[in-house]
């Protein structure tokens, strides 16, 4: 019987993941083409419209950057947890929590000047995201409860809280009976840069750089990497795993909350249940494609922003904007499969080819340097000290 086995390549190209990402985009475009074709659209026309609306002209580019901003922030949020081997699946909820607290601050302090109010709202956003993460973080660090489940479940709690605020305590009395919350004060709008892009983009970019420096160039980041890659070595070095898990998760929640506040002051007029708009979940894909690296987060967020803007624009052609969700997912699948083939090759083995066979290997072996850093479950922390 002849059958295929995966054998690890002896030599893996540098920057494998970048190639995998490009392959993923190509795969997504081809599959999307088939999808558009079979549903009776002209793929060339649709793709042209998508490309034009995302890249051609400063206005288009500014829309792409506007979309890329929350994606970069949620992607960073997931990447911070991911570099410790933890999965924050609930950035969507923490974004909401950040926006809720920021809105509350705006309501209480709407007399303040713009810059001060914005700063306060952003701090409030960070705090809100952290508060929502506090439970999952403590449960993870002290009891070993999977943060994947707890963070995900709190997403729905946060969205329901917004719905309750909309219909109840924060309902705008001047809304003619519509269940909406009053808009944030005018002076709390983030200053624009050009077109629809605002300084939220610079905040995201700045945070990516700070995070990159912190992880690769500070003792704190070194401890984080050590704890994420080999928990027992970290314990041996005297690093408190509990503290590291807590910090990474709270930071992750705080950054997602900041994304909520930036979205609220930058793009949305008011707090509403649609504010997070799937950015938190898309951030998981962004971080995974970026292998938890800040530079990758920036690139992937930009591409995803373009795909989303493109997806919006083709609705006038009668195409559902869901095509952008499908394309994003296809990029991930394409890139994951491509990454496997960049790191492994197929060998056909059987009796005839026996003498040249390689041992089968599962993709994702732990010692594979270029493999997506599959966040491993750290042991439940038991610090002796």
């Amino acid at each position: 019987m002849i059958r295929p086995v995966l054998a690890r390549r002896e030599r893996v190209w540098p920057a494998t993941q970048a190639f995998a990402f490009l392959v993923g985009i190509a795969v997504a475009l081809v599959l999307g083409l088939i999808l558009l074709w079979t549903s009776g659209h002209n793929p060339a026309e649709v793709y042209e419209r998508m490309f034009d609306s995302a890249f051609m002209g400063t206005d288009s580019l500014s829309r792409t950057l506007e979309r890329a901003t929350p994606l970069a922030l949620t992607g960073l949020s997931v990447a911070v947890a991911g570099s410790m081997g933890l999965w924050n699946i609930g950035a969507e909820g923490q974004m909401m929590a950040g926006a809720i607290v920021a809105t509350g601050v705006a309501m209480m302090a709407d007399g303040l000047s713009g810059p001060l109010l914005i700063a306060l709202m952003i701090v409030a956003g960070v705090a809100g995201g952290m508060v929502l993460m506090l439970g999952p973080a403590l449960a993870r660090s002290h009891l070993g409860v999977s943060e994947i489940i707890t963070t995900l479940m709190l997403v729905y709690v946060a969205i329901r809280v917004v719905e309750w605020l909309e219909t109840g305590p924060w309902k705008d009395p001047e809304s003619f009976g519509f269940a909406v919350i009053e808009p944030v004060p005018e002076q709390a709008a983030l200053p624009g840069l050009f077109g629809r892009a605002n300084i939220g983009m610079l905040i995201a970019l700045g945070l990516l750089i700070v995070f990159w420096l912190a992880v690769s160039r500070t003792a704190w980041g070194y401890e984080l990497r050590l704890a994420g890659s080999s928990p027992n070595t970290a314990r041996y070095a005297g690093v408190s795993l509990r503290r590291k898990i807590l910090t990474a998760l709270l930071l992750s929640g705080g950054i997602a909350g900041l994304a909520g506040a930036v979205q609220l002051t930058g793009s949305a007029a008011r707090l509403e249940s649609g504010l997070s708009n799937g950015y938190g979940f898309a951030g998981i894909i962004v971080a995974a494609l970026a292998l938890m690296r800040p530079s990758g987060v920036a690139v992937v967020a930009f591409v995803f922003g373009a795909v989303q803007v493109g997806g919006q624009s083709i609705q006038t052609l009668g195409v559902s904007s869901a095509i952008s969700d499908i394309l994003q997912a296809m990029i991930l699948f394409g890139a994951l499969v491509a990454a496997v083939f960049f790191n492994y090759r197929i060998r056909w083995t059987g009796p005839a080819a026996d003498s040249s066979g390689d041992e089968p290997e599962e993709p994702g072996e732990p010692d594979e340097p270029d493999e997506p850093d599959e966040p491993e479950e750290p042991e439940p922390a038991e610090d002796a000290a």
């Binding site: 019987m1 059958r3 690890r8 002896e10 420096l213 160039r217 500070t218 003792a219 704190w220 980041g221 070194y222 401890e223 990497r225 050590l226 890659s229 080999s230 027992n232 070595t233 970290a234 314990r235 041996y236 070095a237 005297g238 690093v239 408190s240 083995t349 059987g350 009796p351 026996d354 003498s355 040249s356 066979g357 390689d358 041992e359 732990p366 010692d367 340097p369 610090d383 002796a384 000290a385």
Partner: protein, 505 residues
Amino acid sequence: MASSDADHAVWLRGIEKRFPGVIACAGAELRVRPGTIHALLGENGAGKTTMVNVLAGVYRPDGGEVWVNGQRRFFQSPADAIAAGVGMVYQEFRLVPTLTVAENIVLGSAPRLLRSAEIEERVAELSAAYGMAADPTRPVWQLSMGERQRVEILKALWRNASVLVMDEPTAVLTPGEAAELGAALRAMADDGRSVIYISHKLDQVVAFCDEATVLRQGKTVATVDDLQDVDLTELAELMVGSSEGGYVDRPPDLEAGPEVLSLQGVSALNDRGLPALVDINMTVHSHEIVGIVGVSGNGQKELAEVINGLRRPTQGRVTVKQQDVTDASPGDRYRLGLAYVPEDRLGVGLAPKMSVVDNSIVRSYRLQRRGLMLVMAKCVKFCQGLVERFGVRTGRLNDPIAGLSGGNLQRLLLGRELAEQPAVLVAAQPTRGLDVQGVAAIQSHLVDQRSEGVGVLLISEDLDELLALSDRLLVMYEGRVVSELAPDVTPRSVIGEAMAGQVRA
């Protein structure tokens, strides 16, 4: 091709096997006659494990032929090898702890209708036939290491293995259990089965085995038809390719200095919550090497962990340089002068996926800072210093450390621990699995440290190493220090008795 030689149970012919960057086997031969116990000898990395994994269907060879019982075989998987009568007993047992002995034995080859009483009866018959007592109804987690090994062997016999491969079988056994194993293996050989026996313990090889094949660097360098005709040193010479012994000279006598490490009435539990250490009292002084002797699993691992703050004692005090560190973190203990080479190098001592540089600063990264930032140039310089001073052979310093060989990993680890002149060094199995040069290098570092005034606690399973290096020997049995012996005047038989728990008052 017809069977060219029927007089073999196993014939591995011209086996070649390459792994990325490594040639594990380069035309190695292994021929085992039916009804014999055949020793497969060689240093670590000589290709022994690769050879038996080819035989067990785990690896497909890049070249060469596999013959079992007169038939050429092309194993696609371990299942094919099992079907052909090859039974493998790995060093790490592959049993399900929560299942019973009988359930483990039939796992994977269970009859469709599982009648446990019948199976248990047949298992009991099988174990009686080879003198391997094992209660088929007991869950495996309750068994000792020796008993678990019996279950592994019975599992292979249940599947009708005509060739049994044993990888370092006596590493986990007491001397008494090892003798029992030898008898059981002999009974199987008398029954017409063949045994391939991989071990580093040459005295046992000579006691148990009929023939031997010696591998070196992936090639067969010698075959011995009758082991009774050779003596131990000859075998050792064949393995290492020269007559160097691997053990450094006994260090000169030194006056022991002040106490640097003490344990006072320390008790601790193991991972399963059972007592692992019971009322341990010991001291280590400057200028001495204290050896911990014992069959593995008698509390040595927990002892090292308690001393280094990775396991909390339930009772007692630990002091370093007269200061109480019972509640101090591992990092604080290190800063006080306690260095530690853990048994588990890759995974505890070193982070496999991180770079050589990152691993070299595990202890000292706080010193490589300017403000908040790590100064990368300083880190690299520190790493280069270790690499040069301790002769670590490494590729690029930014590559993951998992690519280094065992000996180089250990050189780097030991170098890192010694970088800041510790007062105490706890070294757990520091030379296990290393080649001759590696062993000699590590041992001479230990001796040098002793000369410089470090107190060394050496935990080892290698009695020769302990006898060669230690000033005092402490024998551990079932979590207690059962006796203190002087290495140069104590007969080995007395040490052996103490290790087996038969202490003379």
